[in-house]
């Protein structure tokens, strides 16, 4: 007896979930233009922060790669000749805190600059080589690079030390700031999605006010009344998530070629990382969750029919 009652109620519950899900989906699909618009709005709002976040990830990955090969460019004074430069390189190379110190003569530097920059014609017209001799110093510990740069910069033969970490540091700060901005944008846009979906659900509730009231009069629980609207929210949210995943995939597919070319121009073997399958799935889930929350909030305010709160 007890068991049949419990299983009866469980069956009824499952049945109503199935009915609500199907009925809500039918209502969503019955008005394709309006629903598509809702999906697009939600999709764009979700795609924006996700694209930004992905870009930040890519930048961070790029920073990480360069970070590990942090190096000092040590420019020697013009008076210092190649032999002295070579000697200094060897001397520095002996030090425990320096991994490698490579001498690069001004001629080599010019050659390389020509090849890389594509300014060979302009440079070819120069009579004098404007570049000084250069040492490339890689510290063992990138964290010590700044101290090392100061120490080497104080040598009499050294004109200037450029620490590549400076722009790395800037990049790191920028990505940190970017991550903050992405978070703020994501929160704002999520709030926007909640408002848009909440309003959509609210209109649906208004349109079915009489139905809601009658179902309650003949004994429907809050959960029963809420259920179809929760499913509507879920369908709108999931649809928006799918749109967002497609948008992000499209944007990154369009960027992949140009970025690869850009990277090749800098001699870097670096490729843009897009949205993985699991991330895409997560995005759809996030959309669904937002839809559920929006529907819950929107319906909650319309369930005040009974005398006891």
């Amino acid at each position: 007896m007890q068991r049949t009652r419990v299983s009866h109620r469980l069956n009824a519950w499952v049945r109503h979930h199935r009915l609500s899900a199907a009925d809500s989906l039918r209502r969503v699909l019955e008005r394709p233009t309006a629903s598509l618009l809702t999906w697009l709005v939600v999709g764009i709002a979700l795609a924006l922060p996700v694209s930004l976040a992905l870009s930040m990830d890519n930048l961070r990955a790029l920073g990480g790669r360069v970070d590990s090969q942090a190096q000092l460019s040590v420019f020697l004074r013009p008076a210092v000749d190649a032999v002295a430069g070579q000697a200094l390189a060897e001397e520095l190379g002996q030090r425990a805190d320096i991994a490698t110190a490579t001498f690069r003569s001004r001629e080599e530097a010019l050659e390389e600059f020509r090849a890389r920059s594509g300014f060979s014609d302009v440079l070819g017209g120069l009579e004098d080589n404007p570049l000084p001799h250069l040492l490339l110093v890689v510290p063992r510990d990138p964290a010590q690079a700044a101290a090392l740069a100061a120490e080497i910069g104080a040598l009499a033969t050294v004109d200037e030390v450029i620490l590549d970490l400076a722009w790395l540091e800037r990049l790191r700060r920028l990505t940190e700031l970017g991550a903050r901005l992405v978070l703020v944008a994501a929160l704002l846009l999520a709030a926007g999605v909640l408002l848009v979906l909440g309003n959509t659900i609210r209109l649906a509730v208004e349109g079915r006010r009489e139905e809601i009231e009658v179902t309650r009069l003949v004994g429907a629980s809050d959960a029963f009344v809420r259920r179809p609207f929760l499913y509507s929210g879920l369908w709108y949210g999931i649809g928006g998530g799918v749109v967002a995943a497609l948008l992000v995939a499209a944007v990154f597919a369009a960027l992949r070629g140009p970025v690869a070319q850009l990277a090749a121009a800098y001699g870097a073997d670096w490729r843009l990382a897009g949205l993985g399958l699991i991330d895409a799935f997560g995005l759809v889930l996030a959309g669904g969750a937002l839809g559920l929350i929006a529907a819950w909030l929107a319906v909650g305010r319309h369930l005040r029919l009974d005398p006891r709160g």
Binding site: N11, E211, E213, T215, G219, R308
Partner: protein
């Protein structure tokens, strides 16, 4: 089955819709509730449906003190009280069948059981051949009978009706009242609010009269 113990209802703004109302209705009774417009009939029925709470006094249905019913328990209580409304309150976006089936879907019956019970209820009110029709294609009397079928389809022990014949001509009204008498005969407690004195005085049932929220014939 339905007991009012010194029930008063004061609305916000100070209007007393019911004052010190006490009565008892037995399980196998059919009782008419009458009185002028504004006398408090609808308010009294709404107390039984738990759409309102009394300001003072107690309402008991089937031995249960309604003031003890928690918000969670209200839906279950409403499933035990069938209600027929004056303006039917049918849902016009679905068929007669689906309108009548609504309480059963809410109560969680499966498809086969729903079909059986809906057809039995429609048969009882003489509308079986209209099960696929949309409510708007039916006459006022037929719509009201759909409303009655919906109220009884879940076989509630208590049946309330608020001016069920308000918009119908005398012949149709008499027919509807006969239906209620049939339900009463099979053990349903029936309480019908109506100000159609000519009709209800011809039927031999107890009549409770309200005047400005007070029970007539009760000690003042």
């Amino acid at each position: 089955m339905i007991t009012f113990e010194r029930v008063s209802k004061r609305f916000e703004g100070g209007h007393d819709a019911l004052r010190d109302v006490s009565f008892e209705i037995g399980a196998d009774e059919l009782v008419f509730l009458t009185g002028h417009s504004g006398a408090g009939k609808t308010t009294l029925l709404r107390l039984v449906m738990l759409l309102e709470q009394p300001t003072r006094g107690r309402v008991l249905v089937n031995g249960r003190d309604l003031s003890r019913v928690a918000r969670r328990g209200i839906p279950a209580h409403r499933r035990e009280v069938g209600v027929v409304f004056q303006n039917h309150r049918l849902l016009f976006d679905r068929s007669v069948f689906d309108n009548v089936a609504l309480p059963l879907y809410i109560a969680g019956y499966d498809h086969r059981e729903v079909g059986k019970r809906v057809r039995a209820a429609l048969d009882k009110v003489g509308l079986l051949r209209h099960e696929r029709a949309m409510p708007l294609t039916l006459s006022g009397g037929e719509q009201q009978r759909v409303g009655i079928a919906r109220a009884v389809v879940g076989r509630p022990p208590v049946l309330l009706a608020d001016e069920p014949t308000g918009n119908l001509d005398p012949a149709l009204s008499a027919e509807i009242m006969t239906l209620f008498e049939d339900f009463s005969r099979v053990g349903v407690t029936v309480l019908i609010a109506s100000h159609d004195l000519a009709l209800i005085s011809r039927l031999r049932h107890r009549i409770i009269t309200l005047r400005e929220g007070r029970l007539m014939g009760a000690p003042a």
